[in-house]
Symmetry: C2
Subunit: 508 residues, 2 copies
């Protein structure tokens, strides 16, 4: 890296975790609150999440799902029903024990001792158990199946080491929950939603992912099979960006989701669940942001184009503002990927440089500067967020508006190409344990160093090996990928036979 001044300090290569925090702050995406582990999602960050919601909602609807809403609170007894599930989740939950406050004897407020709940309520960490209770009521016969439901909701998992967007006590997500007549149908649903996530990651997040299956030790508590998508971020670690679980009949059994089959027998339904969360915003930052701040893929940007009027002299100010507003109106007439191009004229009374840097740090895809001289020439100064900060082109205003959708798509494609190039550069086939350890060990142990990447290696499936790699290197099997051609070999750790390479990485 050169010593060129950057908007974000430290840079990625200097201190990646600190860089991440600074991007979140400088791009005005989110901030911590006084409530441990809970974040405030600011308008720019929430706008990205709203676009994620809008697109996924359309994809869920196109695959036959309907939205519904289930209670925030789960009775303690529900959680205790599914043994594996409770083992995986019960530990870190927000527990409601009282339903009233009263004045405390020493001043202030306290939970009223007289209003203690007879059964504590858990703030949902995930909703399989509470939704299962409804499904049990809804399903009587095979005619009532499948049930294809999605919920947009907040969930809470107490976190000791929170990180904005990546790991917060409260986060926003969608959770799909479906019930089916046959195992084959439920497995097909699990695969279908994995494909939806894979397509969404590629086409909207501009993030290439490996999609595949988790090993037993990384499975969702209570699932028979967990499928996932895994992305590489710029410090070459993996981030799990979405999961789709085949739950077999485990939750049907504990919730009592049974139905009269075509053969007139009482049978248990087969269920699935699948979800993505506000962690996707963290994924976007980690994959696309640079040393000048956030870079938002155009298809998810709350604002596609910002117009920055340059008004050095009072006498030309009105003409410039008028031209800027007219240009904005023209741009809004055009559609980019099914939505009108979102354009904002930043008329705030602030120095031009400060305004421009704000938008760079926010990662708006296209900036247009328009001053008195541009007005004379009939052109604007155009900057793309995927290009170096100082690079400008000077297109004519005539014809500019209609050219922007194609330019936005070009930026979208470029971001995907960049992310794919990074991943390809740092995804290696590894064929020995020594090579594996070397790959995941930084050269310089004095300071944090970006190292490693995705290792494609043969693995025999031993849980002991997984434990050892986690403890030695903090490396885990991210998935048994679907996207990598099967190739028989032998496990590099045990010599057992292996039908295909799996993806190993350090992970968020």
């Amino acid at each position: 890296m050169s010593d060129q001044k950057t908007a974000i300090h430290p840079r990625r290569d200097q201190d990646y975790p600190a860089w991440y925090q600074e991007v979140v702050r400088e791009a005005d995406l989110a901030e911590s609150s006084d409530v441990r582990g809970c974040m405030v999602i600011k308008p720019w960050g929430y706008g990205i999440w709203e676009n994620i919601q809008r697109v996924l909602n359309g994809m869920f609807k196109a695959t036959g799902h309907k939205n519904a809403y289930f209670p925030l609170f789960i009775p303690l007894s529900y959680l205790a029903k599914e043994a594996e599930h409770v083992e995986g989740f019960a530990k870190e939950c927000a527990v409601v024990t009282h339903h009233r406050l009263e004045a405390a004897p020493g001043g202030g407020l306290r939970p009223a001792p007289s209003a203690q709940l007879s059964e504590p309520l858990v703030v949902r960490p995930t909703s399989e158990t509470i939704i299962g209770a409804s499904f049990a009521k809804w399903v009587k016969s095979y005619r009532d199946l499948p049930i294809l439901i999605n919920q947009w909701a907040n969930v809470v998992r107490w976190e000791m080491r929170p990180r904005l967007f990546l790991r917060t006590a409260e986060f926003l997500w969608q959770e799909g929950h479906t019930a089916h007549e046959t195992e084959a149908q439920a497995r097909e649903e699990t695969e279908k939603m994995l494909q939806v996530y894979t397509d969404f990651a590629r086409d909207y997040l501009a993030v290439p992912v490996f999609s595949g299956e988790k090993t037993e030790s990384e499975r969702f508590p209570g699932a028979v099979q967990t499928l996932c998508i895994e992305a590489m971020v710029q410090d070459r670690k993996a981030i799990q960006a979405g999961t789709s679980h085949f739950l077999g009949q485990n939750f049907s059994k504990s919730s009592g989701i049974s139905f009269l089959s075509r053969d007139n027998k009482q049978e248990l339904a087969w269920t699935t669940s699948w979800g993505v969360s506000t962690r996707l915003v963290g994924t976007l930052i980690m994959v696309h942001a640079d040393d000048d701040g956030m870079v938002v893929p155009p298809r998810l940007a709350p604002t596609h184009v910002v117009i920055l009027p340059v008004t050095p002299k009072p006498e030309t100010r009105e003409a410039v503002l008028k031209a800027a507003r007219e240009l904005a109106d023209q741009i809004r007439q055009h559609m980019f990927h099914r939505v009108p191009v979102e354009v904002e004229v930043d008329e705030r009374d602030l120095p031009g440089g400060a305004k421009s840097w704000e938008w760079i740090k926010k990662g708006v895809p296209i900036r247009l500067e328009l001053g008195p001289r541009d007005l004379e020439k009939g052109s604007v100064a155009l900057s793309r967020r995927d290009r170096p900060t100082r690079e400008k082109t000077f297109p004519s205003v005539a014809g500019l508006a209609e050219s922007l959708p194609a330019l936005l798509q070009e930026i979208q494609d470029q971001l995907y190409k960049n992310a794919l190039a990074l991943r390809e550069q740092h995804t290696v086939k590894i064929d020995s344990e020594a090579e594996f350890y070397a790959f995941f060990t930084p050269k310089n142990s004095n300071k944090p160093e970006i190292h490693g990447g995705f290792a494609l290696a043969h693995f025999g499936g031993s849980r002991d090996v997984e434990e050892k790699l986690k403890s030695d290197l903090k490396v885990t099997v991210r998935c048994i990928p679907r996207d990598v051609a099967p190739e028989a070999g032998t496990c590099i750790f045990t010599g057992q036979s292996s039908p295909q390479r799996v993806v190993f990485a350090k992970a968020y």
Copy 2:
């Protein structure tokens, strides 16, 4: 009422509260959960809420607001800061006291004693205090104002007597929160959002409302002024459908939202908040549903048109289904009030009568029946939900699709007219206390009887009178209306002078 058979038992005139519950159930809108006071919003009910969200979101955006998201949990100390606010809200809250569960000695789970929070957290009953803490960080100078934020969220207020949609422990809502430089700007915002709600109620809910100001005793805890919209439902009671609060500097003071003014002085910001909730779905039911079930105003209907294929004989089945699907495709090409007409072909293998009644009870605006004979004649049997169940017309299929948007608007307009007629019929000017008491007293005290309505009467503003009316008749001042021409007079209770009539009613 005649003795004609109806789909909902009991009828409105027999037992209005029981009728309401049956409509919610039979229209598949929502159901109770095992968690006291928390409801499950089923897809049809949630679909209506999603349309409410979509439309209001557009109106909020058009008035300059942006969405954001703030924590679910509020530290106890925040709530204690604003004395009036805590007095109004603190009592019935869900209180989180632990952050972990553990195996209980006797089996099952319990909150881990070692994981007790040092400061209990309250599940937000409303977010003034937690959002105020963020605004305090965001605002430094007058240049940072106004802040115009909206949040879509779930909130919890413990309810001892829950009723689906109308009063539930957890409900979904939007809460707008804004901060301004001057009192005038904040007051203007409060009025502007009241107008947004009034317009929304009229144009989308098809509900006429009185809009105006609450008396001091009905104000939001901590507000200087509470504005509201009040609708009349079919048992002639009032329902508060939305509120907009001018908070003065009360919350700014307790949260520390101060800024450097244009005069270089440190000043407190002026704030507002405003909200509507899933209670609007309850309002729709109470205003529009009838003895055959729900009636959804077309502009908020998740499905505008259902096509019911009539397939008595196997040999004509495929031809009928094909024609139904083709008709659906034609209908989808047309727009109704900025969205494509939503049409569903109900191909389920159920008796035709049962299917038809399901859709009547759900309140889909238009039903189209299409059978082999219709196919021969090139027509369909069309039923409007705002007309008697058995009434049908037989339009030609040619030209039908393009005629539906106008028909949907006609139904929308008719629902508004019906609601307005009901309100006008039961809104009376009352000029004596005796007349007032008579108006609000049922004739027959043996069984519940629909009686009363809205009384427009002169009122001098005495809090004692308000208390007495509440205790004697369960009647309250719903609002000091903006929509009723001022007319000087004397209070019918005290003889004090009164600048205008106010709206009295029993209320939900």
